[in-house]
């Protein structure tokens, strides 16, 4: 099955423009995000200590980031002691090769997958397919995306851009080529769609010898990996196959078992607006006679060390992938996730993706450089974040890096320089105001035609003209 890729997408303003033309997408997204937004507010409103939990979650993650080398070695020692094998992957290519080698060593031709952002990030599916290995996504929404030859558009709900009629059509059209076909009389009732997916997936769960997962948390002092999910497909993948491979970002650690108490409250309420998620799977290495008898943990850097190097930007590594920031983002609600051109869409993607792609170390490409500007800085994401990532602060911080790297057209740089020079001296500002007022002050409203920024503003909006008399002129006359 061919897997589309985010590579080579145009910058955000272009992809957003295309997405905005899709009325169905906007309706689906608007409805879905509004529903989950309200539910989340109710779920967190039940906890009187929500703000304290957020602060604690942030503090635990900051501690992890400050002691990362030590904690990673502790995790490695404990996983190894429990019968697991730990692999270290510097980048996506490393990680993909490690996973592919494990699968091939077992002469397996297919893997079942638990929903995982890390494997989306490294585009593992495409890499395994290149090696002739079939990859079956088993999360319902990931299945919809995969069968639809589509890209995910949300961290938690990858098919949020699809409505149920579209899903029925995808199942009817695509399931047969991937395994058990959908019933010919399939309706768009949620229960019927879920049943079709269940039957389609069941034979894969029972047949596959290798499973690939991500992980929500890894407990350093016990070597335990934790996966939270809602559908039970994860539990199937994590228990039935002989071999389990988990790809885990190195920032996913918590120091101790007790720290999970905080995150198992923060994550479900922020992501699905549930008090508790339906399935929480935890495993420590290998248990003889029970579950996978071979366990591999692939610890993934892929830009995380470079992110950690930036004192302001590193807070993005606190992220627990809840997607609350997506659900409250007015930009995301209108453009959808695919416009961001990355596995991590929305506000967190706008600060995480550029850093994982090395913006702290080198000049990035134009698409990556456009991401920190994909925000009106409204601040709703910061308020929603369960680990208090100040996303607007990091966005502005990264914008400064983009400007330093000489992105952006000359017109903008000239305009900013001119504005800076004007504001440097009150006399210059006053002169500019007199000039603008004399030129345009008679107009009730401005409606201009022109290229670039002129069209960007005036394409849909009028503009207030400069006043004939500025405030400072009025004040001077009034006083004297």
């Amino acid at each position: 099955m061919s897997t589309p890729t985010f590579l080579g997408m145009p910058p955000f303003p272009s992809t957003a423009r295309e997405a905005l033309k899709d009325g169905q997408l906007r309706a689906n997204l608007g409805r879905a995000t509004a529903t989950i937004r309200d539910k989340r507010l109710r779920a967190i409103g039940e906890l009187p200590d929500w703000e304290a939990l957020r602060e604690t979650g942030a503090a635990i993650k900051d501690d992890v980031l400050a002691r990362l080398p030590e904690l990673l070695l502790q995790l490695e020692a404990n996983v190894t002691r429990a019968g697991g094998t730990v692999h270290w992957a510097r980048d996506a290519a490393d990680a993909n090769r490690i996973v592919a080698d494990i699968v091939k060593r077992h002469e397996a031709t297919e893997v079942v997958k638990v929903k995982s952002m890390a494997t989306q990030e490294i585009e593992l599916n495409a890499a395994l397919e290149d090696e002739g290995i079939d990859v079956w996504e088993t999360d319902l929404a990931e299945l919809i995306v995969q069968l639809g030859h589509d890209l995910p558009s949300h961290i938690l709900v990858p098919a949020i851009h699809r409505n149920r009629t579209e899903i029925r059509d995808i199942f009817l059209r695509e399931m047969a080529a991937a395994g058990r076909p959908a019933p010919v009389d399939l309706t768009d009732e949620p229960a019927a769609l879920a049943e079709a997916a269940r039957l389609h997936l069941r034979e894969k769960f029972l047949r596959a010898r290798v499973a690939v997962s991500g992980g929500n948390f890894a407990v350093a002092d016990t070597g335990t990996i934790v996966v939270l999910e809602s559908e039970g497909n994860g539990r199937m993948c994590l228990t039935l196959p002989e071999v389990l491979v988990t790809v885990l970002g190195i920032e996913k650690l918590v120091p101790t078992w007790a720290d999970l108490e905080v995150f198992l409250q923060l994550l479900p309420r922020s992501s699905t607006a549930e008090r508790m998620n339906p399935y929480t799977s935890m495993w420590t290495g290998v248990t003889p006679g029970d579950g996978p008898q071979e366990f591999h943990l692939v610890l993934l850097d892929n830009g995380r060390t470079g992110t950690l190097a930036d004192p302001v930007g590193r807070q993005a590594l606190r992220c627990i992938r809840c997607s609350a920031c997506l659900n409250v983002c007015p930009v995301y609600a209108r453009t959808g996730g695919r416009a961001y051109g990355s596995a991590y869409p929305g506000p967190i993607g706008a600060i995480l993706t550029p850093q994982l792609r090395g913006i702290n170390q080198h000049r990035v490409d134009e698409q990556t450089a456009s991401l920190p500007f994909a925000s009106s800085l409204c601040g709703a994401c910061f308020d929603a974040c369960p680990v208090r990532i100040d996303i607007p602060e990091v966005l502005v911080h990264l914008r400064a890096k983009v400007v330093e790297q000489q992105h952006g057209h000359l017109g903008e740089r000239a305009l900013m320089a001119a504005a800076g020079a004007t504001f440097a001296r009150p006399g210059r500002l006053a002169a500019a105001e007199r000039f603008g007022g004399a030129l345009l002050g008679g107009a009730r409203r401005l409606r201009l035609r022109g290229p670039g920024w002129v069209h960007a503003w005036f394409g849909a909006r009028d503009l207030t003209p400069p006043a004939r008399e500025s405030f400072r002129t009025w004040w001077r006359k009034r006083v004297h």
Binding site: R334, S376, V402, F423, A456, W457, R461, P466
Partner: protein, 231 residues
């Protein structure tokens, strides 16, 4: 009490009426208003757009101009937030003066809710992101507007949602900005309000530009202009 008025470059140039209204409200309440003429810009556009170096002299200039004032009052939540939250980031050595957004100053410092205004119109309030989430001014504008004689305040369907202006976002991502703005405009039109009010003229310029393009009779007004209106 004597305060320094920070008019903001935006209001100075485009919306001088907002400054005049701010002066009128403050003087009516017995505040002595001073306008240091050397003031220019808080640097928000440069800061938020990534032009950090160009921002430094503006931040220092601001501190020089307003040094010594017991309080600085500004009719802009956005610029007040820039000074309060970000001037120290731009230059850690700068002494940031105490800057109050107008409704904060009226409610918290003067302790006034009824400013003696008369405005017999239906008003919808656009809460503005920087009012809500950076300054946390909460319901101060509501309380002030509710005390205005003759005024009927109506609530938007999505009062906390961004209007899509976002400074240079409005042109860099103009399609998304306009989509957000049009949704806000629909929300406003749905209330039947005659006037759309806000603590920031930047949002109002964007929303007013969309309303004007539609030929809508809904007027945009800064809160100060409503609070300054009398019989």
């Amino acid at each position: 009490m004597r305060v320094g008025l920070f008019i903001t470059c935006f209001n100075d140039t485009l919306f001088p009426g907002v400054g005049k209204a701010t002066v009128a409200v403050l003087e009516r309440l017995g505040v002595e208003v001073d306008f240091p003429a050397a003031q220019t810009c808080c640097g928000q556009m440069h800061f938020n757009s990534g032009y950090r170096a160009a921002c430094v002299p503006l931040v220092r200039h601001f501190a020089d101009v307003f040094a010594g004032y017991e309080a600085v009052v500004t009719p802009s939540a956005s610029c007040a937030a820039m000074v309060r939250h970000h001037h120290g980031t731009v230059d850690p050595d700068v002494t940031v003066p105490p800057v109050y957004e107008l409704t904060e100053f009226l409610v918290d410092v003067l302790g006034v809710i009824d400013v003696g205004a008369y405005f017999p119109h239906t008003v919808a309030l656009h809460r503005t992101c920087h009012s809500l989430r950076l300054l946390r001014i909460g319901d101060r504008p509501d309380r002030l507007l509710s005390a205005v004689d003759g005024l009927e305040l109506v609530e938007l369907r999505a009062p906390a949602e961004c209007c899509g202006f976002g400074g240079t976002f409005s042109v860099k991502n103009c399609d998304t900005s306009v989509a957000m703005g049009n949704d806000k405009v629909e929300d406003v039109l749905g209330t039947g309000a005659e006037v759309l009010a806000s603590a920031d003229t930047s949002c109002l310029m964007h929303l007013g530009g969309l309303l004007s393009r539609r030929g809508s009779p809904v007027r945009t007004m800064h809160l100060a202009e409503i609070l300054a209106a009398t019989r």
